[in-house]
């Protein structure tokens, strides 16, 4: 189901090729991607969630941390599309707020991890030798670190000081938590990308076109980032996509354990933590945020699967 290998009949294909304007490599990948039904479904779901979460507060201006009301634990209705939670707050408004955080954390953390991994992998792969073995030893060391315990420990220990520092600089304490979480997730997740990029750099840097570019006087950074990097992008893009989903789960897990954002910030994980105590009486309080985490991550994983198929040179027809 994850593959759409239904080549058009040969004749039709030939005819189409003659009539259509020339396609770019990326155009080909996109065409391949659109044939992957679940990946398209994932892309649509994720885009929809993102747009709704970021425009939501303008359309649905309900207060997120409303003072205690008497309509606690109501089921879905017109005035509260997802019902209210144990404090009588509108779940839909909180879901929108949490969605903004989850999606931002996912995207930024993946960006941090991929940038770091790409830089380290590119330097190791391009220069080789001592620098390569040093960087790869560091990569091995980071792979051996106990990920989850360290993540919990670092966020817990450094949260206060990041909050205070951020209040000084930006005036927002929550930005400090955001910064800390994306930084720690990024720092603990760059290693697979570094290995991928290093391997690709090793093979691409020996190609003739790199030699040609060097012979006309391209300097190191031009060679690395203009000539080699674009040819190693496929695995990076797939890794980046999957990392977004992984980061969303990690952030939700942190919040669920009470170690992420402070309790007045309604992230999806924090909402689940709150719902945990009222499972018997208000099950909908858990089901909405949980389902949204699940659907978001599922959508991203399908997009990643589709990209893997579309960008795999062995699969182009």
């Amino acid at each position: 189901m994850s593959h759409t290998e239904t080549p058009a009949p040969a004749q039709e294909f030939k005819l189409a090729a003659r009539m259509r304007p020339q396609r770019s490599l990326w155009g080909n990948a996109w065409r391949q991607f659109t044939h992957h039904k679940l990946a398209m479904f994932g892309l649509i779901v994720f885009s929809l969630f993102t747009v709704v979460a970021f425009t939501g507060p303008y359309i649905w201006p309900e207060e997120v941390n409303a003072p205690f009301a008497f309509n606690t634990g109501e089921g879905p209705s017109i005035s509260h599309p997802m019902g209210t939670d144990s404090l009588g707050q509108d779940i839909f408004a909180r879901i929108l707020y949490g969605g903004r955080i989850s999606i931002s954390v996912g995207l930024v953390a993946a960006f941090v991890a991929i940038t770091l991994g790409t830089l380290i992998g590119a330097v190791a792969g391009y220069f080789g030798g001592f620098l390569d073995s040093l960087l790869m030893r560091i990569t091995d060391l980071f792979i051996s670190l106990p990920q989850l315990p360290l993540l919990l420990l670092i966020t817990f220990l450094f949260k206060d000081s990041f909050q205070n520092k951020s209040e000084e600089i930006t005036g927002s304490r929550n930005f400090g938590v955001f910064f800390l979480i994306v930084l720690v997730i990024g720092l603990l997740a760059w290693m697979p990308t570094a290995r991928l990029v290093r391997a690709s750099f090793f093979s691409v840097k020996e190609k003739e076109f790199v030699e040609a570019a060097r012979s006309i006087g391209a300097n190191t950074s031009i060679l690395m980032f203009r000539h080699i990097l674009p040819n190693t992008l496929s695995p990076i893009i797939v890794a980046a996509t999957l990392e977004v989903g992984a980061a969303i789960i990690t952030e939700s897990a942190l919040s669920f354990l009470g170690l992420g954002f402070p309790s007045d910030v309604p992230t999806w994980g924090a909402m689940l933590l709150g719902a945990n105590n009222y499972l018997q009486i208000y099950p909908h309080e858990a089901i909405f945020p949980g389902t949204l985490i699940f659907l978001t991550v599922l959508a991203i994983n399908y997009v990643g699967d589709g990209l893997r198929d579309a960008l795999d040179p062995r699969k182009t027809h």
Binding site: M1, S2, H3, D140, L141, I143, S144, L145, P146, Q147, L148, P149, L150, L152, L153, I154, F156, L157, F158, D160, S161, G245, I249, S252, A253, F256, L257, G258, L259, G269, L272, A275, N276, L279, Q280, P283, A286, I287, G290, T291, I293, F294, V297, L298, N301, Y302, D305
Partner: protein
């Protein structure tokens, strides 16, 4: 092989020492006074505080403190005393291990036992209904966070049906009640572990199925059963075995969350309690314990790969 093994083990020891330095430095650099409540207690004079600092060695430079800690930790097996519960950390942590191993071990075995046949059949019957259902389940399985699948199970089996208890009670005795309260935590972890492994088994099988030597095996008239078991699976399982070893520490992460949901008094819960109580010795012991597991299983995976795949030359 002998030399390869020795080199590999030496690298692991160096890695572990480096990891212990990293964890120690993080705890050292963390803001906040290690004296905890004593630092702000008005009844403790500045002089006394200074003396406590001196006796705890807090005035020494970082590396001296680290060496003292490492000597106690590695050579005297003295892991310190838990700040919150005032018992030796070693007894406290090791006392938590059996429950975790019981649940984690069962879940992991179950996960492997599901993933291998499902992955193999999926690959042999690629694009069949079975494959599509299995793939969908796998995608669902690793997209659903363990803290949500756990809550869903509680909602269904504890709240709605009332079949299973949703709080794990370590004082419960007897075989059947223990099985009953372990079912949900084990299911959550097994589902998560088997989802990823199924995809991996399937991919590994597909890689081998199209090789020339498989066509050769069929061409010389071997029975399908022999081709699948002796030719395809035998090769496809090499990377799978190593992944099984490599994935285990990742499952420990899942255990932290699962133990929190079902209130299982295992190592994962001890870690969370330790972090929340700023109980540095407990956190250090558990974090480093997990690190040791990761490094150990990395070595196991490497050795298994070298033993199973004769194409790999160990030098």
């Amino acid at each position: 092989m002998g030399r390869y093994l020795i080199r590999r083990l030496l690298i692991s020891v160096v890695t572990l020492i480096a990891i212990s330095m990293i964890i120690y430095s993080i705890l050292y650099l963390a803001p906040g006074d290690p004296l905890g409540g004593l630092a702000t207690n008005p009844n403790v004079s500045a002089e006394t505080r200074q003396r406590i600092r001196e006796s705890w060695g807090l005035n020494d430079p970082l590396y001296i403190q680290y060496f003292k800690w490492a000597k106690a930790y590695f050579f005297d097996f003295d892991w310190g005393t838990s700040i919150s519960s005032r018992v030796p950390v070693r007894d406290y942590v090791l006392g938590r291990v059996p429950v975790t191993i019981q649940i984690l071990g069962t879940a992991y075995l179950l996960g492997v036992m599901i993933a291998i046949p499902v992955g193999v059949i999926s690959a042999l019957k690629q694009y069949s209904i079975f494959d599509q259902v299995a793939t969908t389940f796998a995608f669902f399985g690793f997209s659903i966070p363990t803290f949500f699948s756990g809550l869903l199970l509680i909602l269904l089996f504890s709240v709605q049906l009332g079949w299973l208890p949703f709080v794990y009670d370590s004082t419960v005795t007897g075989f059947w009640p223990n099985v009953k309260q372990s079912i949900m935590p084990i299911t959550v972890l097994a589902l998560f572990g088997s989802a990823q492994l199924t995809r991996f088994v399937r991919a590994s099988m597909l890689e081998v199925i199209n090789q020339d030597y498989i066509r050769t095996a069929r061409a010389k008239g071997l029975r399908e059963q022999v081709v699948v078991i002796a030719h395809i699976m035998r090769n496809a399982m090499i990377p799978v075995v190593t992944i099984i070893a490599l994935q285990l520490p990742g499952i420990v992460g899942g255990a932290v969350i699962t133990e929190q949901i079902f209130r299982v008094p295992g190592v994962g819960r001890a870690l969370i309690d330790g972090i929340l109580a700023k109980d540095v010795p407990v956190v250090m012991a558990i974090t480093f314990g997990v690190a040791t597991l990761v490094v150990f299983f990395n070595v196991v995976a490497d050795i298994l790969y070298a033993v199973l795949d004769p194409r790999i030359k160990y030098s």
